[in-house]
């Protein structure tokens, strides 16, 4: 072997052993101390706060949780939706892991006798941490440029934000300098392969000045080591003790692991509703422990606010701010109500402080369209939506405070089972002329067609129901309707916080379903679909629920239905939140549209998971938009940018809101909004029966 090589590594070994043994032992002691500090502060600062919250079982389906955890935390599955921040975080995350891996091996291998230089493992470990450092720096430069040069509006910078970048840079630089200094002291000339094992440090070593004597140089090595080690250890201490956003390293990971595995669109029922003394969330400790963890796991990345239709239309709601305001309140108030040795847990809260009106304004609370966009975009599954629903419940059920427009809606739902207060007997007038029989007339049918309130009382949407019925009749599907016995599914009541009314409507419908032994339900309204499919099981409902688009796609796939007619049309499809984000139904609609002859489908920039709400969900359909821009008009502008002939949708709420938007833009003559079922029915007009 080359004598220069051996000489170099012999000197390196001597230096490494001189320096690393005491450092390794010291680091082990510090590590134990830091671990103890972590356990203590975790319990004091986080765990005790979460314990204030109500119970929520998040310990089921562990393999599935682990899979998501690995996918999201290590694979960054939800980060890549935005290329730049996704890449940035990926580089910092994996660079840090590389540094820790390399550093760990090098720190502990001499102690354990596993390996010493120039053995391969040690050299590879050295190289891994050098590369890791470069990867971190790349990611950090991207982050700094983004935060301090591009300054996207969604990022708010606090002192901690520039501290963490500067501190990380200082630690990496001093780390490279320690190694560079060691290299220059260990050998006059570096062996040829030293560059490969320490590419950055060997470059730095070229510029390093040394003292004339060996003892002074050793003293200088120690200076360098301390200048690296002190800020590095303090950095860990800072992460553990402070309220820095770096807490997300463990809090966000925990939040990913404990995320709700229930259907995304299902609102949590109020437990023991009949016996409960309070409803919803009035004070912070009435959230569940997982909801409190949500608050702490937020890193203020702002993806939620960039996709929130309320925020983008200049309403007072900003989902990031809601979470941050609740978090600040939790930290301020939570500490005061944590039971201590002197204050038993059963004592009432010393600082009663209602959230609505004090922490979250009423305008903010009622601006939410329940589109679930905040949850969908959040990389670590934090939902603002469930907290808003809980606070709405408190407002409505405990204090009877809600926007004045909702009074008539609640009355209509309560008395006539529909939000408009229309006469129940008229609900199915439109089916009579089509020859559709109700279940009371013929209960022996395969499918219950559940058109929903819009189809029953809104003239425009009745046309959609007619189209659906014509398709079903042409396909000779065995179906019936409930007619006057049909009640609102309850979705508007639940999302407006009126759980009492919701449960009343559900029970009434379930009773009817039970009477007719309903097994299969076809809906044309995504709101009904979501509620019947995901929320009725909470009340014991057991039946198959299918949306018209899934149903039509199946007919197409099975070749039971073919589409013949069509003229040249440019169509853009608007994703309904309740089909898309709530139930991940994106493809059937596109599949059907592409099957219609002459249709050219153009996608809006905001489509699928990123689709922009029409503004009608969460009860907003019945509320005035006093503040900011109108959400439906913003969506129409996005659609009109593609110059379509037709805007297709599969939701009565969206249909209504988009048509209103077109009228506001004076485009209702040039562009039409159709439900997919209407387009299908037109396309099969002259088609003979297939069966």
């Amino acid at each position: 072997m080359d004598p220069t090589y051996l000489h170099f590594w012999a000197k390196q070994n001597a230096y490494i052993l001189n320096v690393i043994y005491p450092i390794s032992i010291g680091f082990c002691i510090i590590l134990i101390g830091l671990a103890g500090l972590f356990v203590y502060t975790f319990r004091q600062q986080h765990y005790r706060l979460w314990r204030l919250g109500k119970e929520e079982d998040c310990s089921d389906r562990i393999p599935e949780r682990l899979k998501t955890f690995l996918n999201v935390v290590f694979g960054h599955a939800r980060f890549w939706r935005e290329g730049y921040p996704g890449t940035m975080h990926f580089l910092i995350f994996w660079g840090t892991l590389f540094v820790f891996l390399g550093k760990g091996i090098r720190l502990f291998s001499p102690l354990t006798g596993l390996t010493v230089p120039p053995q391969g493992v040690y050299l590879i470990a050295s190289c891994i941490s050098e590369i890791g450092g470069v990867v971190i720096l790349l990611g950090a430069v991207m982050a700094v440029v983004r935060r301090f040069v591009f300054k996207p509006s969604r990022l708010d910078s606090k002192p901690d934000d520039h501290l963490k970048y500067l501190w990380g840079f200082v630690i990496l630089l001093t780390g490279y300098m320690v190694k560079g200094y060691r290299l220059v002291l260990a050998g006059g000339s570096l062996p040829p392969d030293s560059f490969s094992w320490a590419p950055i440090s060997s470059i730095l070593s070229q510029f390093t000045l040394i003292l004339p004597s060996e003892p002074l140089n050793e003293l200088l090595v120690w200076h360098r080591v301390l200048i690296h080690a002190i800020p590095a250890v303090a950095f860990f201490g800072y992460i553990v003790v402070s309220r820095s956003s770096l807490e997300h390293i463990y809090l966000s990971a925990l939040n990913v692991f404990y995320r709700s595995l229930k259907p995304k669109g299902a609102v949590r029922p109020i437990p023991n509703f009949e016996e409960a003394e309070t409803y919803g969330v009035t004070e912070i400790q009435e959230f569940t422990w997982k909801q409190l963890l949500d608050l702490e796991a937020c890193t203020r990345c702002g993806r939620c606010q960039d996709s929130c239709p309320a925020h983008l239309s200049e309403k007072p709601l900003n989902p990031k701010k809601v979470i941050q305001d609740l978090r600040a309140h939790l930290l301020t108030k939570g500490g005061a109500i944590i039971p201590t040795n002197y204050q038993p847990a059963s004592e009432p809260s010393p600082l009663p402080s209602p959230l609505v009106g004090k922490v979250i304004s009423e305008d903010t609370l009622w601006s939410c369209t329940a589109c679930l966009s905040c949850y969908e975009q959040c990389p670590v599954f934090i939902s603002g939506f469930d907290k808003i629903i809980d606070m709405r419940r408190s407002s409505v059920l405990m204090e009877s405070r809600f926007p004045v427009e909702l009074k008539e809606v609640f009355r209509g739902l309560e008395r006539r089972s529909n939000p408009w207060g229309g006469d129940k007997s008229q609900r199915a007038d439109w089916v009579k002329e089509l020859g559709v029989r109700t279940l009371a007339e013929n209960p022996e049918v395969e499918w219950l067609y559940f058109p929903g309130c819009f189809k029953g009382f809104d003239d425009r949407n009745k046309k959609v129901a007619v189209a659906v019925v014509k398709i079903l009749q042409r396909m000779e599907i065995s179906f019936g309707v409930l007619g006057p016995e049909e009640g609102c599914c309850g979705d508007p009541a639940r999302r407006m916080g009126n759980e009492y009314l919701y449960s009343m409507l559900v029970e009434k419908n379930l009773e009817t379903f039970e009477r007719y032994k309903i097994k299969k339900i076809l809906t044309t309204c995504p709101h009904c679909y979501n509620t019947l499919k995901n929320e009725y099981p909470q009340f014991g409902g057991k039946f198959e629920v299918i949306h018209e688009t899934e149903f039509l796609k199946t007919l197409l796939d099975q070749k039971k239905m073919t589409l013949h007619n069509g003229s040249s049309l440019t169509v853009t499809y608007h994703d309904s939140c309740y089909l898309g984000r709530y139930n991940q139904i994106y493809e059937p609609q596109r599949h059907i549209l592409k099957a219609i002859p002459g249709v050219t489908l153009k996608e809006m920039e905001r489509s699928r998971e990123r689709s922009f709400c029409c503004g009608g969900g969460g009860g907003r359909m019945w509320m005035e938009e006093h503040q900011g821009k109108r959400i439906n008009e913003m969506r129409i502008d996005q659609a009109l940018a593609l110059e379509p002939n037709v805007i297709a949708t599969a939701c009565p709420y969206c249909l209504t809101m988009l048509e209103d938007g077109l009228k506001a833009r004076n485009k209702d003559d040039a562009v039409k909004v159709y439900d997919i079922a209407e387009l299908v029915e037109k396309s099969m007009d002259d088609q003979p029966k297939t069966r």
């Binding site: 501290l163 200082v170 000045l209 040394i210 200048i227 303090a234 950095f235 800072y238 003790v241």
Partner: protein, 69 residues
């Protein structure tokens, strides 16, 4: 060259000091230290930081290795 090296070293040391002091300030505020004392904490840490920086400059000017011929 030596002067440049000293400036770089001082900058690194001041960077370390700044990080540690800012972290200390943010941490004590996080731990419940009343924000009305923040001004006092800033001044105290600022003065100590300035003294430490002066020490670094003096120390490095005296002891930093001279360029070898």
């Amino acid at each position: 060259m030596r002067a440049i090296a000293i400036v770089i070293e001082v900058l690194i040391l001041m960077g370390v000091t700044y990080c540690l002091f800012l972290a200390a300030r943010l941490t004590i505020l996080d731990l419940g230290f009343q924000s009305k004392y923040d001004r006092f904490v800033r001044w105290a840490l600022g003065i100590v930081g300035a003294v430490i920086s002066a020490f670094f400059i003096a120390h490095l000017t005296l002891f930093y290795p001279k360029l070898l011929p």
